[in-house]
């Protein structure tokens, strides 16, 4: 070992530890923000809803907001339908509930599509962020909008990540013709403007969240694929890959155990940026009015 390379190694190590030190504070902060957003998204009806969390209705206790929260969660929801004390709220608490009976309301006791008496109110104690032009509570819409945004961001990037990692890994590992074909394919997909593609798809299959998620997922994987490909190409020639070959590891084993772990870091970073991009894209779409359905509320609509 030459002195220079030792020193170089040392600097790299020390730098990476100091970055790690700084990063840990930043990462913690980022985690807290991300968890808050997910928390708000998952628990939206407990924070803002037109039904109470707990109330006494016709002699029995009901949990309308809780039921509406859990209903959204795939497995738990169907489980809930069969369980006794929770039943789907069949009443509108605002109209039919006796005002004097026991009820705990969410902190913002309005639903995202519930119409108030007054439109365009400025913020007050009742409506913290006021009401919009149709008289809906802005904060309630913001909270429920998070839900859609998180869903779009997460699902579309899971899809994009899956495609990007597979295409990138295959292109990088097998090289040659395979790499050429995959790389050209990536470049072609990169040319699609997702925004207009979504408009086209909407016109074709109709409006819906699934369409948006699919289009974003199927177009935004290219940067992930390129990063994974670069990492795999770099790793493919590494000594430890040859060492793994020398003890009889198969191609799949080498790709999955040795090359992908190194490539996953950059891929995950690209995916997190992708989540933000997807949310912005979706917000933009709702702002230009691709979303006509009043049933859904979006951050984009209110941010505008």
């Amino acid at each position: 070992m030459s002195v220079a390379s030792r020193v170089g190694e040392d600097i790299i190590l020390r730098r990476s530890t100091s970055i790690a030190g700084k990063r840990s504070v930043l990462t913690k902060f980022a985690w807290v923000v991300a968890l808050c957003v997910v928390f708000v998204a998952v628990l939206a009806p407990l924070l803002a809803w037109h039904q109470p969390i707990v109330c006494k209705y016709q002699g029995t206790y009901d949990f309308p907001a809780v039921v509406d929260t859990v209903r959204q969660i795939p497995v738990l929801g169907s489980y809930l339908e069969k369980s006794k004390p929770f039943r789907f709220p069949t009443f509108d608490a605002r109209k039919t509930l006796d005002p004097d009976s026991f009820a705990i309301w969410p902190p913002i006791p309005f639903g995202p599509i519930e119409l108030m008496a007054d439109a365009n109110l400025s913020s007050s104690r009742a409506h913290w962020l006021g009401t919009d032009d149709r008289g809906r509570d802005v904060l309630a819409r913001l909270i429920h909008g998070t839900r859609v945004s998180v869903r779009v961001g997460l699902y579309s990037m899971l899809l994009a990540g899956a495609i990007g990692i597979v295409v990138g890994a295959v292109a990088g590992f097998f090289g040659g013709m395979c790499d050429w074909v995959c790389s050209r394919f990536i470049e072609i997909v990169m040319c699609f403007p997702a925004f207009f593609l979504i408009l086209a798809v909407m016109a074709w299959i109709g409006e819906g969240l699934t369409g948006v998620i699919l289009v974003i997922g199927f177009t935004q994987w290219t940067s992930i694929a390129r990063l994974v490909r670069a990492e795999v190409v770099r790793g493919r020639e590494a000594d430890f890959v040859m060492a793994a070959r020398s003890y009889g590891a198969s191609n799949t084993h080498i790709l999955i155990r040795h090359l992908l772990p190194g490539a996953l870091g950059p891929a995950v970073v690209a995916m997190t940026f992708g989540v933000a991009d997807a949310i912005l894209l979706e917000a933009g779409l709702s702002w230009v009015g691709v979303w006509r359905s009043v049933a859904d509320a979006f951050v984009g609509l209110d941010a505008a």
Partner: protein
């Protein structure tokens, strides 16, 4: 030839030629070499003469563009007829690599994956070779580390490759190559980055599995003293060919190839420099 029919022969290389993609000349030119069961053969040669290339050719790890001709036959009790390695299909090769022949690479640090802990890398090799459960693999990994003389295997198993010293990485490389209990171990310059003390330990570590597992060794080195200490036979390469193939004692004679003489003298000189504390490096 009666020699090639010898029941004790483990590996027989005949007229091996290797030329790298776009290289002007052959890197190996008609190299022939045979290794007997449990024999330790040292391959001595200057830097760049093609020692690693020979080892990689034996493991079929040369880059795709390299042209190879000649034959490399591996004999084994399980196989009635010798296996011709130069033409073996990739999936059959995987049964040979690690289990019949294993290779310890020239740069131990770099042959470990930097993003995986030592423990998981050793377990992985064990799981490639034997069908054991994860928990058993961990136990076996600890045992294999103890066997190569690591005193605190529990700590090392959780370490990252960059936290190891060169000698430690070398031992872990050895543990990995021994995991498949190969018939032949190719050790590519296992001592070149180590100090005298660590060198002696590695030599001892290589001797042990020979005794216990009946393993043959091809030791690649440019250090005569190591070759002398370990080998039953010493081959010397010069340029792209093997020019000497004898017992180590026979190298005392004066009619040996000049390349062999040069290597031996170089080793002795290094020894002298070490003794005079590096005052006259020339």
């Amino acid at each position: 030839m009666t020699n090639t029919r010898d029941r004790d022969t483990l590996l027989q290389i005949r007229d091996l030629r290797v030329r790298y993609d776009q290289a002007a000349a052959d890197t190996l030119d008609r190299v022939s070499l045979s290794i007997k069961r449990q024999e330790a053969v040292a391959l001595l040669g200057d830097s760049g003469c093609g020692k690693t290339t020979l080892a990689l050719a034996m493991m079929r790890l040369l880059p795709n563009g390299a042209m190879v001709s000649g034959s490399i036959e591996l004999r084994d009790g399980d196989y009635a007829t010798p296996i011709e390695l130069t033409r073996l299909a990739e999936d059959r090769l995987r049964e040979v690599r690690g289990k019949r022949m294993a290779m310890l690479f020239q740069s131990p640090q770099r042959s470990l994956n930097p993003v995986l802990r030592i423990g998981s890398q050793i377990e992985e090799v064990i799981r490639v070779h034997t069908n054991v459960r994860r928990a058993d693999a961990r136990l076996k990994a600890i045992q294999s580390l103890t066997r190569v003389g690591i005193t605190d295997p529990e700590r090392i198993i959780r370490a990252w490759p960059h936290e190891l010293s060169g000698g430690m990485a070398q031992r872990i490389g050895l543990a990995i190559t021994l995991a498949g209990q190969p018939d032949l171990l190719i050790a590519d310059e296992p001592t070149s980055s180590l100090d005298a003390n660590a060198k002696a330990q590695v030599v001892e570590l290589l001797r042990k599995p020979r005794r216990t597992m009946g393993m043959a060794i091809l030791l690649i080195t440019h250090d005569w003293t190591i070759a002398r200490a370990l080998a039953d036979r010493v081959c010397v390469m010069d340029g792209n060919r093997i020019v000497e193939d004898r017992q180590p004692e026979e190298f005392e004679a004066h009619n040996i190839h000049p390349a062999a003489r040069r290597l031996i003298d170089a080793s002795n000189r290094r020894l002298r420099i070490a003794v005079t504390n590096g005052d006259d490096v020339r």
